[in-house]
Symmetry: C2
Subunit: 463 residues, 2 copies
């Protein structure tokens, strides 16, 4: 019997212990994620084609299914040192409150001004754009976390930054916009009149509050039609999961340091960047047969791509200007109700996460908004941190699993990703406090209708 060392409230790695490599889970996947397809030819996108939209080095990362470890450039590691390593926190107070024998940990990514894990990929993408000599980048943002993160990275590297912000978030979160402006970014509510695709969407849906899919289309159009610009994306893409593997790498290093062996690893899932990043190196161990873990993806019932979508080729964006990706999707025309977990309002899911889920290596579940905020409040009151609505989906699942442990007397170790803070989500918290928050679950008909808009691309026969 080994005696467990005393676990501190927060485990910090030293700077020397910080990961020097991203971990690329695709290298260990027997069945690789399906390639992106050119929507015109329906052939896999080549590096050359992708290079019109993305920076060259990011294209290489996007297509890299073979290298297990990809070195993190020194400049990025220096930037990481400004806000990383993030703490792995033992939720002693939550455990006590729940009266559970389970041991609960969370990897807290909110201790930076972007308020979330998004900064991990923002600095990497901005770095490669700068290295390529570009003038600037364009992007979309939902809840505003990604846009803020990219603004911060671009300010640091002196790169121009144009952000299309989903209109519902732009209106509900004017303060996010001001943070981005403080970091020197220009912010446009989407859909907008500044792009062809934006004008088209506005003409068809005059009252729309927008979606991530719309905003992506506008940002891509602007990047490809402006000299010296490329498009960058905060989630979904394999390159983003690669950068976010820093979360999992740090978590694993911290757990190994204290001989902690997790049973269950939980993450909220919108586009899949946080979940994919957190679980990647653990999934690697599972895929290599070195260890076993349960992985749980948590999504909102209002936008249930994994739990109610289909695994087919679909457009990544509403405007259909992007490559096709094979993923769990609700159809690129799906516009979710104005749920406040803005970062989880995406119709699709990372190809990597989708493939792993399809192979049964990941479980998925969904929750309603009000029960998620109930968990958020309980967590905030005992652990101190006011969580982002997105992250609170993972909290809810972790609490449910811990209560199951209590019922069954099981001493499981649960780790979840606390992706960010809710400081810019107070409109939603106010609705919860005032008991005016509502839930919305799309009907089967609505989802069937939306999915019926997905074309019969090759491989979609099962749809």
């Amino acid at each position: 019997m080994t005696i467990e060392p005393k676990i501190p409230y927060k485990i910090y790695l030293s700077e020397d212990e910080m990961p020097k490599n991203y971990y690329n889970v695709r290298a260990d996947m027997k069945k690789k994620p399906a390639p992106l397809l050119n929507p015109g030819t329906l052939e896999p996108m080549t590096a050359e084609e992708l290079g019109g939209v993305f920076c060259d080095e990011l294209v290489q990362q996007e297509l890299n299914n073979t290298d297990q470890l990809i070195p993190i450039p020194q400049d990025i590691r220096d930037f990481y040192k400004m806000y990383r390593p993030s703490p792995l926190v033992r939720a002693y107070c939550l455990e006590e409150k729940l009266g559970t024998p389970a041991k609960i940990y969370y990897k807290f990514e909110g201790n930076n001004t972007s308020g979330s894990h998004k900064l991990n990929s923002a600095i990497a993408q901005a770095y490669y754009a700068k290295k390529q000599g570009l003038k600037g980048v364009t992007t979309e943002t939902g809840a505003g976390q990604w846009g803020t993160a990219l603004s911060m990275a671009c300010a640091y590297l002196d790169l121009d930054c144009k952000v299309y912000m989903v209109k519902v978030s732009y209106e509900q979160k004017p303060f996010r916009r001001e943070v981005m402006r403080t970091y020197g970014a220009s912010v446009t509510p989407s859909p907008s009149e500044t792009t062809t695709v934006g004008r088209k969407i506005l003409a068809e849906h005059p009252g729309t509050t927008g979606s991530l899919g719309c905003a992506i289309s506008e940002a891509v159009e602007t990047a490809t039609s402006t000299e010296g610009y490329r498009y960058v994306l905060g989630s979904v893409l394999s390159q983003v999961l690669l950068h976010q593997s820093i979360i999992g790498q740090e978590t694993m290093a911290a757990m190994d340091k204290y001989n902690i062996d997790p049973d269950i690893i939980i993450g909220c899932a919108g586009g899949g960047s946080n979940l994919g990043g957190l679980i990647s190196p653990f999934m690697g161990r599972k895929l290599r047969g070195e260890n076993d873990y349960r992985f749980i993806a948590v999504e909102p019932k209002s936008c249930p791509s994994l739990t109610r979508g289909q695994y087919v080729y679909d457009f990544c964006d509403t405007g259909k200007v992007c490559p096709l990706a094979k993923m769990y999707t609700l159809g690129s025309g799906f516009i979710p109700s104005p749920n406040h977990a803005g970062g989880l309002r995406y119709h699709g899911m990372s190809s990597i996460v989708s493939e792993l889920y399809d192979e049964g290596l990941i479980e998925a579940r969904s929750y309603e908004q009000t029960e998620v905020f109930e968990a958020a409040e309980e967590f905030a009151r005992c652990e101190g941190i006011l969580p982002a609505p997105e992250s609170s989906h993972a909290i809810k699942a972790a609490i449910d699993e811990a209560l199951k442990c209590k019922e069954n007397g099981e001493e499981k170790t649960i780790v979840f990703g606390l992706t960010g803070t809710g400081y810019f989500d107070m409109v939603a918290y106010q609705q919860y406090n005032d008991k005016t928050m509502s839930d919305y679950i799309p009907t089967d008909d609505e989802i069937r209708d939306s999915l019926s808009g997905v074309p019969q691309f090759p491989g979609n026969e099962t749809k």
Copy 2:
């Protein structure tokens, strides 16, 4: 010659290295801060008199001029472990941007949901209230940081919490209010109709946007007229500086660990809690003749108590219900312009800081709001963190000192307190971004008028 060990970007103490004692600077002061006086008898307040307003153990701390170290109870230390130690950050990027040979450090207290150092004293005060078996506590809040901190501490200890929030902040920062509500506190804009003193102030100044002084009066009245309640205060009092010495204790331990010897220590000063807490143990070394440091207090030009006030006995609150304190004051009737650095809008200053300043042991300077935001933006863009307006006063002074070092080729070590984040100050940032922010400097006549309202208490003859 000793070789300086490589300084990481962030120095974290381990949990074992965290301070076990508060440091009480009064023990090392040859001339003690002047005692609080009973406004009726003009005699020093007794423990019994203070016990009607404050918890018993806090009264003992308030009156304790002799014990150098006061043990931190284990329960408080456990709470501290949830968000402390706070990092001592080396501002490598800012140094590079400024091209200065100076070495700049900041002690960052913003990595918790209250967004500032205020939580350090909130948990201590709530703990002693709970220990005394009280039902709840009342308080005032300016920018909302203290109220949020107290709400968090009370939620953790299951204690009722009533907050009077300065009306201008209540209106400008509705989201702060929602954070407090999420933690279960009740929040009332001040002045309000719920107290005698509030009704009186409203009758005399119908359009007032309030002040910390008004809000204190209301909170004290509510505490003293409600069974099982006591009043707690986020700054000014000696007990608060004692709790905030955790900042200085950690800073000193981190610096000692890496053999860093600071030349200049800078803090923003509203009521004095952050400045006093940060400098206390260093001041102790200076008072004991062990080392020398320059200490700089930074305040807004709109509320310049140290740089333009007088060192006399005055009321701590507008309503004149509190004991008298000898302090640098602008007069308790001084209502500053609605400057956005809400936490620095107090007419007076901690008695400890006032005495040290009067003895020439601390320097003071003041800045206009717009130059402070300019420094804030510069800092945010290279160091990543979006600072609170209050903290940005210290940033501005640190940058000025670092630029002086550049001019003179001096390799000084500067450390400043980065007390909090500006996430709830985006209205102010928006004004700065839109170039609609204005400065206000009170005229000599205005200050003379305000000071003329201070009664001729004993010892005020120099006024």
